[in-house]
């Protein structure tokens, strides 16, 4: 099992997750990576991703696991990078005997949101609240949701907001959270200026970067 850590930046950040899966799989074919296929009636490539970033949000920490016969991770990464569009290059590659099931064990993601203006420090206080309700768009309308338990950390440094938000099975969408902040604190952070910088897994009660976990 090869796991690639890759970017999703610039123009590619406007490509939906469903389309990204197709882009990835076509890339694997171009890279001639010997991917295993399912044995069902309609065989499909055995590939796995983690919780996607919302449309427009950029990422430096996407993970893509490939069940394949190749085991030379450096060679796979070289071939993968030569076969992918701009904005989806791999930055690290790992080999594991077994599928680490990242989608099941990632619990948080780190993001940096950059604003043209200096951001108010009060934003940081949100993390200490027992209850914090945001309105988020959902299919068919707008819903209210208490997300206090899903905000792990917030730090403002000048025009940057560093966020650690729940990711995976319990998930807080970075775009929905930023839209709420824009409204409540009269900021103008653009969704395309949010970057996911890391995904974190929980090991022995501690959050560690998925990249460290895979090493």
């Amino acid at each position: 099992m090869i796991i690639l850590k890759h970017l999703k930046v610039d123009d590619v950040s406007y490509v939906s997750h469903k389309d990204i899966l197709r882009v990835l799989q076509r890339g694997l074919k171009r890279a001639k990576i010997d991917v295993k296929y399912s044995q069902g009636f309609v065989p499909h490539m055995l590939t796995y991703t983690t919780t996607p970033v919302p449309l427009g949000v950029q990422s430096c920490a996407e993970y893509f696991a490939i069940d394949c016969l190749d085991s030379d991770k450096d060679d796979v990464m070289r071939r993968y990078n030569a076969a992918m569009p701009q904005g989806m290059r791999a930055t690290a590659c790992f080999y594991k005997d077994k599928n680490p099931n990242l989608a099941g064990i990632v619990v948080a993601s780190d993001y940096i949101a950059t604003c043209a203006e200096v951001l108010p420090k009060e934003i940081e206080k949100i993390k200490d609240l027992d209850s914090y309700v945001i309105t988020a768009r959902k299919k068919g309308g707008v819903v209210e949701k208490d997300v206090a338990a899903l905000i792990f950390d917030l730090k403002v440094d000048g025009n940057k907001l560093y966020m650690r938000l729940a990711s995976g099975n319990d998930n807080l969408r970075a775009d929905a959270f930023i839209e709420d902040i824009n409204k409540k604190f009269s900021c103008d952070i653009k969704i395309n200026d949010i970057v996911r910088t890391a995904q974190l897994v929980k090991v022995d009660g501690e959050l560690i970067d998925a990249e460290e976990f895979l090493k």
Binding site: S16, R26, R30, P85
Partner: protein, 586 residues
């Protein structure tokens, strides 16, 4: 607005529109946009990204120009209505996908015009680019805007929007036009001086000069430019696959079919070239499917060898082959079984042998029967049948013939079918007497006749597991008007656009009443284009020599009325005249 500020605004807009991936480019195999460049061209496609990206012709020209030294070519597609509204609201012009550049800033702008119902989209895009609609109103500060594509068979309705119209195959004349423009700019020639020189090139029609123009065609498909490192889109498009072109032109001469005559002379690629192109495309794209394209695939003389050789390569790469346009008479069950799976598409076009002889669809009742039996034995579950209504000399008996074919399919399924259930889909379109066909002098049936025929079919095809769908009568009228019209129609196109007509080929946007109002307000009697032409009438498109001679078309028309069919020209030339342009033959 500065470029940077425009890009910032664009970022905001992109998250407010549907499918933003359509507007950002960044596809795999993107050519080098930073290379040394003396001529920057933008190719505009007058429909949405997912349609434009599926078009093989534009794909060839895009890569051909980018592979030309000193030339960079970018793309623009008609943005969807939500995007267009936001561009206008934010004071942004239409931009190119690759470098997000204002299209007015290019040295040369090209439009691909694929379909009569896209004509308002030309005006829509010119509006978004921010230039006057008519070429005569555009000054030296605006680059020349040229058009090409299949609709140039009769470019008259839209000719006045363009400085030049490229008649024929772009591989032959677009790069020459680009070279010429580059030279003219170096020598500080004016736009009109450039256009005077341009009409000396093969297949360049300059509407302001109304110069008689002969269609430009490539000599040899084997030597013609064909890209094997093509753009692979990041989002879903209509035909999301790579493709190779087996041959251009068609030998069958169905008398209603414009493509069949327009793309003559017939030129084919060799098996070796096609296999090489197929392998390179499979490797460079990663697509799961490859189309083997032509107007009548089974006429390719070495089809079996070609498919066998490509299939070995495709299987190794887990790529599925698609063979559209197999003719009913040459249906090869073996190939069919491999390629098509559980669905079969047949286009007998007319319900009776008599009418098929009139339209020169050279397939007999016996062919239909034997082909269906083979298909049903292979376990086909879906049969799609395509017919045309309103053909010259058509009677109720011919419509009843369609019903009889459907009943025959059902009967044959009960006798030979190996699948439990058989779904039959019958689709009818309305006959449009298109230019450059033997039926170009015919009238189009009235909208009342169309509806009566559709009603007849609806009643008769209330059969279990048979689905009947039909092409809109109203859109067929508009399509016919613009296929056969003259230069007076340009003002009606602008008027229709001003009334809100755009993306007319998308049924949800088509508004017939607005079109009728546009004709009225432009004082155009559109009905006159639906009536037949006399054989000695001067036709609006006569200034264009598309290859096939008028004499041949008239002779074919005469044979149609006599119910005499013409055999295909694979073995023996029928003398249509297309070989005046280039050597012809399979």
């Amino acid at each position: 607005m500065s470029g940077e500020r425009a890009l910032d605004k664009l970022k905001d807009i992109l998250l407010k529109v549907q499918k933003p991936a359509r507007y950002v480019g960044g596809e795999y195999n993107l050519p080098d946009m930073e290379k040394f460049c003396e001529e920057r061209v933008c190719l505009c496609f007058s429909d949405k990204y997912e349609v434009g990206m599926s078009n093989v012709g534009t794909r060839i020209l895009y890569h051909m120009l980018n592979d030309t030294e000193g030339v960079v070519c970018e793309r623009a597609y008609a943005p969807d209505l939500d995007m267009a509204a936001l561009l206008k609201e934010n004071g942004l012009p239409l931009f190119s996908l690759e470098t997000k550049k204002d299209i007015k800033e290019f040295d040369l702008i090209g439009f691909s015009v694929q379909f009569e119902l896209q004509f308002t989209n030309i005006v829509y895009m010119l509006d978004l680019i921010g230039v006057p609609y008519f070429a005569k109103d555009r000054g030296e500060d605006i680059p020349p805007i040229v058009a090409g594509g299949p609709c140039v068979v009769n470019p008259m309705p839209f000719a006045d929007f363009f400085d030049a119209v490229l008649i024929g195959e772009g591989e032959k004349n677009l790069d020459e036009l680009v070279k010429l423009h580059r030279e003219c700019r170096k020598n500080n020639l004016t736009k009109s001086e450039f256009l005077k020189k341009a009409c000396e090139l093969d297949g360049v029609f300059v509407p302001s000069l109304n110069n008689p123009t002969k269609r430009a065609v490539v000599e040899d498909l084997d030597k013609a430019y064909y890209p094997t490192k093509i753009l692979v889109p990041n989002c879903d498009i209509v035909h999301d696959r790579s493709s190779i072109e087996l041959f251009r032109g068609c030998a069958n001469g169905c008398r209603f079919c414009q493509a069949g005559f327009y793309y003559r002379p017939i030129r084919k690629g060799s098996v070796d070239t096609l296999v090489r192109q197929a392998c390179e495309l499979m490797d460079s794209t990663g697509y799961d499917e490859m189309g083997l394209l032509s107007l009548s695939t089974s006429d390719y003389p070495e089809l079996k060898e070609l498919v066998d050789r490509i299939k070995v390569e495709a299987d190794a790469r887990k790529v599925k082959l698609a063979l559209p346009s197999l003719r009913l008479d040459s249906f090869e069950a073996e190939i069919y079984e491999e390629m098509q799976g559980a669905s079969l598409t047949f286009a007998p076009e007319a319900g009776t042998q008599r009418l098929r002889d009139v339209i020169n669809k050279n397939i007999s009742d016996e062919n239909i029967k034997s082909s269906l039996i083979s298909a049903l034995k292979y376990g086909v579950k879906n049969v799609k049948l395509y017919f045309i209504m309103g053909l010259p000399t058509e009677t109720e008996e011919d419509l009843q013939g369609i019903v009889n074919i459907v009943k025959l399919v059902k009967y044959l399924h009960s006798q030979y079918g190996t699948s439990k259930l058989l779904n039959i889909t019958v689709s009818t379109s309305i006959f449009i007497p298109k230019p450059l066909t033997p039926f170009q002098w015919e009238r189009q049936i009235s909208i009342e006749e169309m509806r009566a025929k559709q009603e007849f079919m609806r009643e008769k095809l209330r059969i279990k597991n048979v689905k009947y769908s039909w092409h809109g009568a109203q859109s067929s009228v508009i399509e016919a008007v613009f296929a056969r019209g003259d230069r007076s129609l340009a003002k009606a196109i602008v008027k229709a656009y001003e009334l809100g007509c755009v993306f007319d080929s998308w049924s949800e946007n088509f508004d017939y009443d607005k079109w009728i109002k546009a004709f009225e307000e432009s004082s155009i009697d559109y009905q006159k284009f639906l009536e037949g032409f006399a054989e000695d009438d001067e036709l609006p498109w006569d200034v264009i020599d598309n290859g096939v001679s008028k004499k041949y078309l008239l002779a074919e028309r005469k044979k149609a009325y006599e119910g005499i069919s013409t055999p295909n020209c694979i073995g023996k030339c029928n003398g249509c005249g297309a070989n005046r342009l280039q050597r012809c033959g399979l």
